[in-house]
Every structure is written in structure tokens, then in C-alpha cells.
């Protein structure tokens, strides 16, 4: 009898573990909602999350935690590490450190998978996405986005020996163009009639072109400058063609993403205006060669 009891207990343990696993996830919703009348009426899971964000101050949450978790990817010159160093630096990283200091908290940089940035924010595994994020409709629909702080445009990357075929193109029809899935580059390539080849990361697009699987790639100009040419595996690739100009569009803007309804956005905008006024922004931007791209007004 004892043995059966022990077995049942062990099973319950493993089952409850599996339940945490999300297979039975919707059940979990009931337990935390019980002591909060505002969320018991909310039918959808996302609604519960949003209401939670509205009622509490996100600034207070971060200050209580004592650490601002900044979601990044390794992206020079925004967030990167120098050879032999373990510290995140870059324009975004340095500004994030200053922002955390203004909140009176520590800063912790967390590398994330870019596709899951919204889930990372909503599940509070990070507090902001600060990594040269282009502001578009999808981003503003899912996050609270700061005022734009930097500009950027998309470029076409192609094999250098075929430069003559690509320069001055105004349409990409009939070309296989590698893009990062869900990026602004994907929208631009589609708008110009390209057959897009979506891959996981901007960096993977260059492998597509190098290996000849795609004719060209569309990525951020900052990234193209960093990743192609001498000293890289992609010395044979070249880039040109401002796709934003080709479409008659304005350049893109970079912004910082926060949880929907978070008051960290206001804290950020206030901090940024002050940092622009006292020259911090221009000083740090100049360090990383972004003095032309950064927005100062």
C-alpha cells in the first residue's frame, strides 16, 4: 500500500511538472487571476496581461526588481562586444546603461531571439527591446514604442562581380532576394516585386547570397557596412541602392520597445530629451560613428 502511495505521489509530481510545461497551460490562468477581480472577467489571455500592465507602474516594477533587463541581439554598432572583452558596448548599450542609471537600477543585457521579442516583453523576461529596432506597424501594434532616436534605410547586397547588373535597379522583379523573416527589409523587397526568401537572421541572408542560393539580399545599411567587404567571409559582396529612396519612402526610424501600456516609455522619452539637451547623445553617437544617423531635436 505504501508503495502505491509513493508511486502516486511521484506521478503527481511529474504530472504537475508537465502541467507547468504548457500542455495544460490555460488551466494556470485561473489560479493567479483569482485574487485580482480585474482579470477574472477578462476572457482572453492577452487581455489579462495587458490589464496587468495598465494597473501597475512598470517603472515601480523595474525599480523593485533592481535591474533593467535589456533585450538585445549582437548587432554592431548598437550592441556588441569587443574582441577579448565580455562587456556589452555600442550606441544602444551605452545609452541603456545611462537610462538604467537615471532610474537608479542596474542594467543587464540579455541576448534574445528576435522573433520572440514581444513574448519576451510580455512574459517579463526582459523589460525593453533596445537594439536598433525599426519602428513599423507590427512593432507599434505589439509594444509601447519610444520617440524615434535614430534613422536607417535598407540596402541591396549582391555579389561584387555582378555589380553592373544591380546598380540603378528600380525593381527587383524576377530576382530571388534573401531577407530576415519579419524584418523591414522583407517589406521593402516585397514592395519592389522581389521573390523573397525569408531566413532566420539578417546574417543568414548573406550566406544565401554568397552560396548562390539567392540573387541578392536586403538588410540594414548599418549591418551591410559591418558585415561585407575586407576581413569578412563576404569580401566578394557589395551593397548599394537605398531601397527606401527607390520606393519613394522616407528613411526608417529606430525606437525602443517597452511593454504595452508601460510607463517606462514616458520615463525613457524624458530621459532622452534631457540626454540630447546636455549633449550626451551626440557624444556617444560620435564614438560609434552614428553622428549623422542619430536624431537631435
Amino acid at each position: 500500500m505504501k508503495k502505491i502511495l509513493a508511486l502516486i505521489l511521484a506521478l503527481c509530481l511529474s504530472l504537475s511538472l508537465a502541467a507547468c510545461g504548457g500542455n495544460n497551460a490555460p488551466q494556470d490562468q485561473n489560479s493567479p487571476a483569482g485574487d485580482d477581480p480585474a482579470t477574472t472577467t477578462a476572457p482572453a489571455q492577452s487581455a489579462a496581461v495587458e490589464e496587468g500592465g495598465d494597473t501597475e507602474s512598470d517603472v515601480a516594477y523595474v525599480q523593485a526588481q533592481g535591474t533593467l533587463y535589456v533585450g538585445i541581439t549582437n548587432f554592431a554598432p548598437m550592441d556588441y562586444k569587443e574582441a577579448g572583452s565580455d562587456e556589452w558596448i555600442g550606441f544602444d548599450a551605452d545609452m541603456a546603461k545611462a537610462f538604467a542609471e537615471s532610474l537608479g537600477v542596474n542594467v543587464e543585457f540579455q541576448e534574445i531571439t528576435w522573433d520572440y521579442k514581444v513574448q519576451e516583453l510580455d512574459s517579463k523576461t526582459i523589460d525593453c527591446v533596445w537594439n536598433g529596432m525599426t519602428i513599423n506597424d507590427e512593432v507599434t501594434a505589439a509594444m509601447a514604442v519610444s520617440d524615434p532616436y535614430c534613422t536607417n534605410y535598407q540596402v541591396l547586397v549582391y555579389p561584387a562581380d555582378k555589380a553592373a547588373e544591380f546598380e540603378g535597379l528600380t525593381s527587383l522583379e524576377g530576382l530571388y532576394v534573401a531577407v530576415e523573416s519579419g524584418s523591414a527589409g522583407e517589406d521593402a523587397a516585397e514592395a519592389l516585386g522581389a521573390t523573397t526568401v525569408p531566413v532566420q537572421a539578417q546574417s543568414n541572408t548573406l550566406m544565401e547570397v554568397q552560396s548562390g542560393n539567392s540573387d541578392a539580399a536586403v538588410i540594414d545599411v548599418l549591418m551591410a557596412a559591418e558585415m561585407t567587404g575586407e576581413g569578412t567571409s563576404y569580401a566578394d559582396l557589395a551593397y548599394s541602392l537605398n531601397l527606401n529612396e527607390a520606393q519613394g519612402l522616407e528613411s526608417e526610424n529606430y525606437g525602443v520597445g517597452f511593454r504595452k501600456g508601460s510607463d517606462l516609455v514616458d520615463a525613457f522619452n524624458e530621459f532622452w530629451a534631457q540626454a540630447v539637451a546636455d549633449g550626451t547623445v551626440l557624444e556617444i553617437a560620435t564614438t560609434y560613428g552614428l553622428q549623422d544617423a542619430v536624431i537631435l531635436e
Binding site: 508511486l7 511529474s14 485580482d36 489571455q45 513574448q119 510580455d122 512574459s123 559591418e226 558585415m227
Partner: protein, 260 residues
């Protein structure tokens, strides 16, 4: 060739890959240590014959003097623990591991009010991935264990009973030993798959060896646009698989001394 390995760029890359591979190894060993005992518990669960409704149903049938029809028969063979275990085996084996990792890491935080229950930062990701791997592999292992236990001839247990051994003694000294011998080849298969499956953990940005290698494609520590590190990770996996194969081969030989 030697110059290539001595260059500072290669040194930086190899250091990063080594760090990544340590994370891979941590995940591998934690999974193995956690999943084997849990798998045994689940194997018992899916062999459990507890049928709480069998007795009352039979009693009722006897009192009324009826033959069991389909409903009564279903009640007699209703084994809840076995049913739940086999249902979970189906769910865990029937969904991709990458989906389970993503669900375990993100869904609790998205559904619960206070945000994620995992610790924040790198440690939380490691914990979540370990839990996902332990659960997934425990259910795979449980089926291997079940096959191993059920494959031991019933005569062995009967012989134990004749010799006056208790049920516990029979299990540990007769069945378990013979099961271990039988399951080594299929377990080797799973364990080598596990070595390579660890790379799925980068779905939630755990910085294992493939993640580290990919970082040099887009740029890390001033090195960018290199794709050879990604291909080079194969060396790590192959070397480790070779060690695992050797260890398991030796274990198989050691267990060769008795024949059934």
C-alpha cells in the same frame, strides 16, 4: 594550418565555442541525470494495473447475476494511472521538442499575472531548457524502460517467487538487472540524439555552441561575416558522440557476462 589556429581571430572564436560547448555539456548531463529516474517512474505508471472500479463492478454484476456487457467491461479495465501516463507519453512524444521549449519558457509568463516564474536572465533560460529536456527525454526513456521490463520473461519472476524472494528483491535483483542489459542499445540511440538535440535550446536564446558559432556570422567581438565556425561545431559534436559511444560500448561489454 598551424598559423590559422594560432591567429588571434581563431583563438577568440575557439574560446567562444568552448564556452558554448560547456553550456551544451551542462544541459546534456543535467538532462541525463534528471530524465533517467523520472523515466523509470513514468514507465511504472504506464505499466500500472490499478483498476479501482473493477471490484465494485464485478461485485455488482455478481449480486444481480448478470453477464458483463460493454460498459461493465470498460469499467473493469479502466486503469486511470496507466491511462494518464500513456496520454502524456502521446502528448510529449507527439509534439516537437522545440515547441515544448518555447511553451515552457514563454507561456507561464504570458498567462500569469506577475510575469515569468523563471528567474530572469541567463540562469532562468538554462533552468527552463533543462526542465523541457528532462520532461521530453523522460517520456522517451520511459517507453524504452517499459519495453525492457516487459521483455524480461515471466519465468524469471516466477523463479524468484519459488526461491522465496520478496517483490522488491525480485525487481531489483532479477528484473532490473536484466532490463539494464536489454535497454543499452536503444538508450545509446536516444543519448546520442540528446547530444545533438541540445542545439534546439537556442530557440530561447540559450548560448550554447551553435548560438556562439552563429554569432560570428553577424558579428561578435569585432569578428563578423565568418561562417566556418558554424561548420566547425560539428567537430565538437562528433568528438563528444565518440566518447559517449565508447562509454556505452564498454557498458554493454561489461553487462555481457550474464546471458538470459
Amino acid at each position: 594550418m598551424i598559423e590559422f589556429f594560432q591567429s588571434p581571430v581563431t583563438q577568440t572564436i575557439l574560446t567562444a565555442l568552448n564556452q558554448g560547448f560547456i553550456v551544451t555539456l551542462e544541459l546534456f548531463f543535467v538532462t541525463l541525470i534528471g530524465a533517467i529516474p523520472l523515466g523509470l517512474v513514468i514507465a511504472f505508471g504506464s505499466m500500472n494495473r490499478l483498476a479501482p472500479l473493477a471490484r465494485p463492478t464485478r461485485w455488482l454484476l455478481r449480486r444481480r447475476g448478470r453477464e458483463p456487457r460493454w460498459f461493465a467491461r470498460a469499467l473493469i479495465v479502466f486503469r486511470p494511472i496507466q491511462l494518464i501516463c500513456r496520454l502524456l507519453v502521446w502528448i510529449v512524444r507527439g509534439t516537437p521538442l522545440i515547441l515544448q521549449i518555447i511553451a515552457i519558457y514563454y507561456v507561464p509568463g504570458l498567462v500569469m499575472d506577475g510575469g515569468t516564474p523563471w528567474p530572469r536572465g541567463e540562469m532562468g533560460r538554462m533552468t527552463a531548457v533543462c526542465v523541457a529536456f528532462i520532461i521530453n527525454y523522460a517520456f522517451y526513456f520511459s517507453e524504452i524502460f517499459r519495453g525492457g521490463i516487459q521483455g524480461v520473461p515471466k519465468g524469471q519472476q516466477e523463479a524468484g517467487l519459488v526461491l522465496g524472494m520478496t517483490k522488491g528483491q525480485i525487481f531489483f535483483k532479477v528484473t532490473l538487472l536484466q532490463m539494464v542489459k536489454r535497454i543499452v542499445p536503444p538508450m545509446s540511440n536516444e543519448i546520442i540524439t540528446l547530444v545533438k538535440d541540445t542545439s534546439l535550446s537556442r530557440a530561447i536564446a540559450l548560448q550554447e555552441v551553435i548560438w556562439a558559432a552563429e554569432s560570428f556570422m553577424k558579428g561578435n567581438q569585432g569578428i563578423s561575416g565568418l561562417w566556418w565556425p558554424l561548420m566547425f561545431t560539428a567537430v565538437y559534436y562528433l568528438a563528444f558522440s565518440a566518447i559517449v559511444t565508447m562509454v556505452l560500448g564498454r557498458l554493454e561489454k561489461k553487462l555481457d557476462y550474464f546471458q538470459v
